[in-house]
């Protein structure tokens, strides 16, 4: 990474804060407890997408490590060439598995990258909603207790 670019961005951001006082018009995806507090992934999908029948597809590209370096910060990315309306990530062993939903308007790439918490070794599933149907890709992420705390 080039250090100058960061300093410039920092400058741009602080310049932008001046414009922030006007209350922004929000266009949020509308988080809902009915979706995210579900204990079962299928229920979460049902409430988020009105369906929970899923089809595994190799067109859903899920990237997550085999062994997490640290369960508190696990990089996960989902991408697909399908015409996607929405992308979700499920972490099966978490108390409420649904971690994120991302809506993909026309003109936006069907891709999302984030970092997730995983309490223990778990199945991670990427869900892509395309043409009203849900397509998935899954993999196991091992979460271990490290030997070197410090």
């Amino acid at each position: 990474m080039d250090r100058r670019s960061v300093l410039k961005i920092a400058g741009a951001v602080s310049a932008a804060t001046a414009a922030m006082f006007a209350v922004p018009r929000m266009a949020f995806a509308a988080y809902s407890d009915a979706i995210f507090k579900q204990k079962a992934g299928a229920d979460a999908l049902q409430n988020a997408y009105g369906a929970n029948a899923t089809t595994p597809s190799d067109q859903v590209k899920l990237k997550a490590p085999d062994i997490a370096e640290n369960g508190a910060v696990v990089p996960v990315s989902v991408e697909t060439d399908m015409d996607a309306e929405s992308i979700a990530i499920l972490i099966t062993e978490n108390p409420s598995p649904l971690a994120i939903t991302a809506d993909i308007p026309a003109g936006t790439k069907a891709m999302v990258k984030t970092r997730c918490r995983m309490g223990k070794t778990t199945q991670v599933t990427a869900v892509v909603k395309s043409g009203g149907k849900l397509y998935t890709a899954s993999k196991e992420v091992k979460v271990t207790i490290g030997g070197c705390g410090g």
Binding site: R3, P65, D66, I67, A72, V73, P75, T144, C148, G150
Partner: protein
């Protein structure tokens, strides 16, 4: 025949004597670096500055994903603010270290006048105190932020720590650091070298231990385990705690000399801090 033997004996003796005479820091370093190059032949030498990720491709991928937008960038920003904050006397850290604080390559160094190793964090606090400001805590927080800002602006500077030959006290400080590195400590009976040299790359429970070659290059770091920034001496203390040895004081003589030794061992690499670590 007798003559030949005595010649051989003399030759051997001469060899060992000369080796004993010249085995100084430079030879130590050559042997140290060669050890890691032999152990990890697939790692390009310059890559050792990336710690465990230089030898562990699977972890490296996650690390690179974190480095896409590393958490330490927020620390750099905070550090910049502190760096440019005006002291009560009208000066600032910039009065001591220049506009951008890109002075990482000057530390650690041997201060002949005071007869001690001076690290960058120590120098930061000395600048604060000389200007009537309160010193910062050495292990984390504002100190790590300032150090992150200065290290960031110093990225790419080469590590070239000197052990001046005209001051035997400098060599003694180096030797103290060296002894620390190789001496077993704590109830678990580990030396730094046991994990980070002789079993570098192997697993301790679920963790692969990092090679010590390159250890001093990337500080301060944002450690996922800590969920915060920390300085090299914070990590030294953490390692000592792990092996159940009482840690020494951050920026005390023991850790400064250990930093002196470890950084000297990485001469030829680049400073590339701050960094993200697991």
């Amino acid at each position: 025949m007798k003559k030949i033997i005595s010649h051989v004996a003399f030759g051997l003796l001469g060899l060992s004597v000369s080796a004993a005479v010249v085995a100084g820091p430079a030879e130590d370093r050559a042997a140290f670096q060669k050890f890691y190059e032999n152990r990890f032949p697939d790692t390009p030498v310059a890559d050792f500055q990336n710690g465990v990720y230089s030898i562990l491709p699977a972890a490296r991928e996650q690390w690179e994903a974190i480095e896409e937008f590393p958490p330490y960038e927020l620390s750099i920003e905070r550090g910049e603010e502190i760096y440019n904050k005006t002291f009560a006397n009208g000066k600032s850290l910039a009065s001591c270290f220049g506009d951008d604080g890109a002075v990482r390559e000057k530390y650690p160094h041997w201060d002949k006048d005071r007869g001690m190793v001076v690290t960058m964090e120590l120098a930061i606090n000395e600048c604060l105190e000389a200007n009537g400001e309160k010193p910062l805590k050495y292990k984390k927080g504002a100190m790590a932020d300032v150090s992150a800002f200065m290290s960031y602006n110093s990225r790419g500077q080469s590590i070239n720590v000197e052990i001046p030959s005209d001051d035997p006290r400098a060599l003694a400080a180096y030797e103290m650091g060296k002894e620390q590195f190789y001496t077993k400590r704590g109830q678990l009976n580990f030396a730094c070298a046991d994990c980070h040299m002789h079993t570098a790359g192997m697993m301790y429970r679920a963790d692969t231990v990092s090679p010590a070659f390159g250890h001093a290059t990337s500080w301060p770091v944002f450690r996922s385990k800590w969920q915060s920034m920390g300085t090299l001496h914070r990590r030294f203390a953490g390692c000592h705690n792990n092996i159940r040895a009482n840690p020494f004081k951050a920026q005390g003589e023991e850790y400064r000399n250990l930093e002196y030794f470890v950084t000297y061992m990485s001469n030829g690499l680049e400073f590339n801090g701050p960094a993200a670590r697991k």
